[in-house]
């Protein structure tokens, strides 16, 4: 049975350990999502490239290849489990010797890259649909006053798309906080890993994880409520 007494005792002894783990979880999440945003932007732009009849054949070919690669990336990463991706990326990278001098840092880095790659696939779809939700007439009007495609994006489309993207982006951050727990499997010292090590040291199998769950909850729950509240206010200001 779960014993409150044991939880208190574990926390008293290993509390700082847990907090360290939570700190690492948040760092890994922040860096992975940042990587995901950059990748997502690149991949979304890749997938949104239009083949135009005015382009020369070489450019058309390049565009078609880039578009195919970007689509393949998104579909493969969204249709396979994160934990499988983490294993494949982590073991193939370290297997061919792509390591830093410090083993802990190496682990951390590949963990972040694996989660970032996964998040990039999801975020590229978030970004793509956020841009797609801006009415087509906005782009036409911008091009009609002589703006280049890039200027139209910069001054007209993206400022409107960000309103659509931001809430989903924040939710992605919250999701990734939880998802990084799979990194415990490759030995990255985030919150779940700490709980696991405490469990094996103390031979207590439930309570260490209850504490981890409680910590995830204290971070994720208020954060997601906050995002929902901000989103509601933003929508209000759009409709006026």
């Amino acid at each position: 049975m779960i014993s409150g007494d044991r939880i208190v005792k574990i926390w008293a002894k290993y509390g700082h350990f847990y907090l360290q783990g939570l700190g690492n979880t948040l760092w890994v999440t922040l860096l992975a999502v940042s990587l995901g945003v950059v990748l997502g932007l690149l991949v979304a732009s890749g997938r949104m490239m239009k083949l135009r009849s005015r382009d020369n054949p070489v450019l058309k070919g390049i565009k078609a290849v880039v578009r195919f690669l970007c689509t393949a990336y998104v579909e493969v990463l969204r249709a396979t489990p994160l934990i499988v991706q983490v294993f494949v990326i982590y073991y193939s990278a370290t297997g061919i010797g792509l390591s830093l001098s410090d083993a802990t840092a190496t682990r951390m880095m590949w963990g972040i890259i694996a989660v970032g790659l996964n998040s990039g696939a999801y975020l590229s779809e978030v970004i793509r649909s956020g841009i797609g939700a801006v009415p087509g007439g906005q782009l036409e009007a911008a091009r009609c006053i002589g703006m280049s495609q890039w200027k139209a994006m910069r001054f007209v489309i993206l400022p409107q798309a960000i309103r659509n993207i931001l809430p989903a982006l924040c939710n992605e951050f919250v999701t990734i906080i939880k998802e990084t727990s799979v990194l415990a499997m490759v030995g990255i010292a985030e919150l779940m890993f700490k709980a696991q090590s405490i469990s094996t040291q103390t031979y207590i199998f439930v309570e260490p994880y209850i504490i981890a769950a409680a910590m995830y909850f204290t971070v994720v729950f208020p954060l997601s409520k906050l995002i929902a509240a901000v989103e509601r206010r933003m929508n209000k200001s759009v409709t006026r």
Partner: protein, 245 residues
């Protein structure tokens, strides 16, 4: 080539997949012309207008604007579009900008005009369309007629040589049609070259210097407004006018 030919359209064709929308359009538009384009829906008139600034890419023929073939791959269309203003049925004001910023956008972001200069220009234009006091509003706060007048000011801010209007009053409530047509008419009086796709026959008759009737992707009839409406030649035009007048 004659100096006053602003736009020459030669054998213009446009097809979407298997659907032929424009099947050979030839017309010269001179400086100061006010060309009204009328015709049943699906006749290709909007597509014709959108080809003039390459919003639609023609699949055949040439469009020569001020001596430059804009359908050529070597032509930088962004530069040409600075001289071709366009006003849409759905206004398409930039939703993320105030009215003033909408009108300033072109001079500021495209021409690289200084901010205070662009602002002065924009305020003058808003004054001209009767909205000098609404600069700080967002498009969503304005009525349709007001939005369309802002859209006209935004196009004028680039100081274009020709203005294209794509059914500028079709999305408006009836009581707002007038205020927009008044602005367009005033432009015509000032000598602006214009091509106006419209369903407003009264406007075409009074304000246009030439009227085109389009059907099935070709220009079926072209004439001065008086002749056009009083003595239509083509049976299709006679039929069309009997339905709409």
């Amino acid at each position: 080539m004659s100096q006053d030919k602003l736009i020459q359209v030669k054998g213009l064709e446009k097809r979407f997949k298997r659907l032929e929308v424009l099947r050979g359009i030839d017309i010269d538009i001179h400086k100061g012309d006010v060309v009204a384009v009328i015709g049943p829906s699906g006749s290709g008139k909007s597509t014709f207008l959108r080809c003039l600034n390459l919003l639609e890419e023609p699949t055949g023929g040439q469009i020569i604007f001020e001596g430059t073939d804009i359908t050529s791959k070597e032509t930088n269309i962004d530069v040409m579009r600075q001289k071709i203003g366009m006003v849409f049925q759905q206004f398409n004001l930039f939703a993320n900008m105030t009215v003033l910023d909408n009108v300033m956008a072109g001079p500021l972001r495209v021409k690289g005009m200084k901010k205070d200069e662009a602002e002065k220009l924009a305020l003058g234009l808003l004054e001209r369309v009767g909205l000098g006091d609404r600069g700080s509003a967002y498009p969503i706060q304005l009525s349709g007629g007001q939005q369309q007048r802002v859209a006209i000011a935004r196009a004028l801010a680039m100081q274009p040589d020709v203005m294209l209007f794509d059914e500028p009053t079709s999305a408006l409530d009836p009581e707002m049609v007038r205020e927009v047509l008044d602005v367009i008419r005033q432009l015509a009086d000032e000598g602006m070259t214009m091509v106006v796709v419209t369903h407003e026959m009264g406007f075409a008759r009074e304000a246009a210097s030439r009227v085109l009737f389009m059907d099935e992707g070709v220009i079926m009839e072209e004439n001065g407004p008086q002749e056009f409406f009083d003595h239509p030649q083509n049976p299709r035009l006679q039929d069309f006018l009997s339905k709409v007048l």
